[in-house]
């Protein structure tokens, strides 16, 4: 019930990066036109930690897809708390809600 995505990195120019917005590549999305479906969709970065919080060692950072990035289907997402740089290359879940279909 979610599309898989990868965290590519932060929004950046050649030498400066802005960590408040991350770039996400969604599986199967190859053009900017296709990204229209995903705009506004909630994104979850799920990760494990050593200590237990609220009864679970699994933690999550929620965010939303905000806009397309470039013309090849990459997408910008803004998270409640910025993603850690450790997440580059890690999977992210792009949920199918809020749905507009």
């Amino acid at each position: 019930l979610y599309a898989k995505g990868r965290v590519l990195g932060f929004k950046r120019a050649k030498r400066n990066q802005r960590p408040d917005i991350s770039l996400i590549q969604i599986e199967g999305v190859k053009t900017a036109v296709d990204t229209e479906f995903y705009l506004g969709k909630r994104v979850a970065f799920v990760y494990r930690a050593k200590s237990e919080v609220n009864g679970s060692k699994i933690r999550c950072i929620w965010g939303r897809v905000t806009r397309a990035h470039g013309g090849s289907g990459v997408v910008k997402a803004r998270f409640r708390n910025n993603l850690p740089a450790k997440s580059f290359g890690a999977s992210v879940r792009v949920m199918m809600y809020p749905s507009r279909v």
């Binding site: 019930l1 999305v29 296709d34 479906f37 995903y38 199918m96 809600y97 749905s99 507009r100 279909v101």
Partner: protein, 238 residues
């Protein structure tokens, strides 16, 4: 009286109509003054009889009394709240009888029949319970995918008592913080109210009539939605 502006600017500082022209536009000669009715202003004070020979017989007591207490600091007055949330507009793809896919919550992935939109904007939905275990439930439009499959149900026949009040939480009798209650452990889950079970059965009967007529529809509703490898949500044709 709010109306469109009577004057406008030709360029900066040069208005289209002169002062007398604007006054003429007000058409005062046609307006009749609203006749003031002879209404006595509401009484602001009342007379109270007072006993005692030397007390003057009666006193005038103000009806709108001045407050007995004034705040030492200025109390901030909250700004007027003019925006009112409207109930969500139902998507055109969702009509009574549409099969919806629930995207989140306990029943995520389940295919479910849409019944009607409630006053709060939430969608009333039912499994039917016999088929996939989803009871009469309220669901937000944003957490639902509308498919093109439709079940032929008559929206008018849905029970009228199914509204937001039907789903309000029942207040359980409070067993005040007694030690008894504490040691009793978890309170046993109360069985569902009888009238709710009855409404569920009646509504489902309505839906099942229509569902069983279509080949494979009961099995379709019983199955769960999922994405398989290579399937991308944006390319799905629902």
């Amino acid at each position: 009286m709010v109306h469109k502006p009577r004057n406008s600017f030709l360029t900066v500082g040069v208005s289209k109509y002169s002062r007398s022209q604007v006054i003429a536009k007000r058409v005062l000669y046609k307006r009749k003054p609203v006749s003031t009715l002879a209404v006595c202003p509401p009484a602001s004070a009342k007379k109270v009889e007072v006993k005692g020979a030397k007390n003057g017989g009666s006193r005038s007591v103000a009806l709108n009394k001045a407050p007995r207490f004034y705040e030492a600091e200025d109390v901030a007055k909250p700004l007027k709240h003019r925006k009112h949330a409207r109930t969500a507009t139902l998507r055109s793809t969702i009509t009574p009888g549409t099969v919806l896919i629930l995207l989140a919550g306990r029943y995520r992935g389940k295919r479910v029949v849409f019944l009607k939109q409630l006053e709060s904007g939430l969608l009333l939905v039912s499994g039917p319970f016999k088929i996939n275990g989803v009871p009469l439930k309220r669901v937000n439009q944003a957490y639902v995918l509308a498919t093109s499959t439709k079940v032929n149900i008559d929206a008018a026949k849905i029970d009228a008592q199914l509204n937001d009040a039907f789903f309000a939480r029942t207040k359980s009798a409070k067993k005040a913080a007694t030690e008894e209650a504490f040691f009793e452990g978890q309170k046993k889950k109360e069985p569902l109210a009888e009238n709710k079970v009855a409404v569920q059965k009646a509504t489902d009967k309505l839906i099942l009539e229509a569902v069983n007529k279509v080949e494979y529809l009961p099995q379709y509703l019983a199955s769960k939605f999922s994405l398989s490898k290579g399937q991308a949500p944006h390319a799905l044709k629902l």
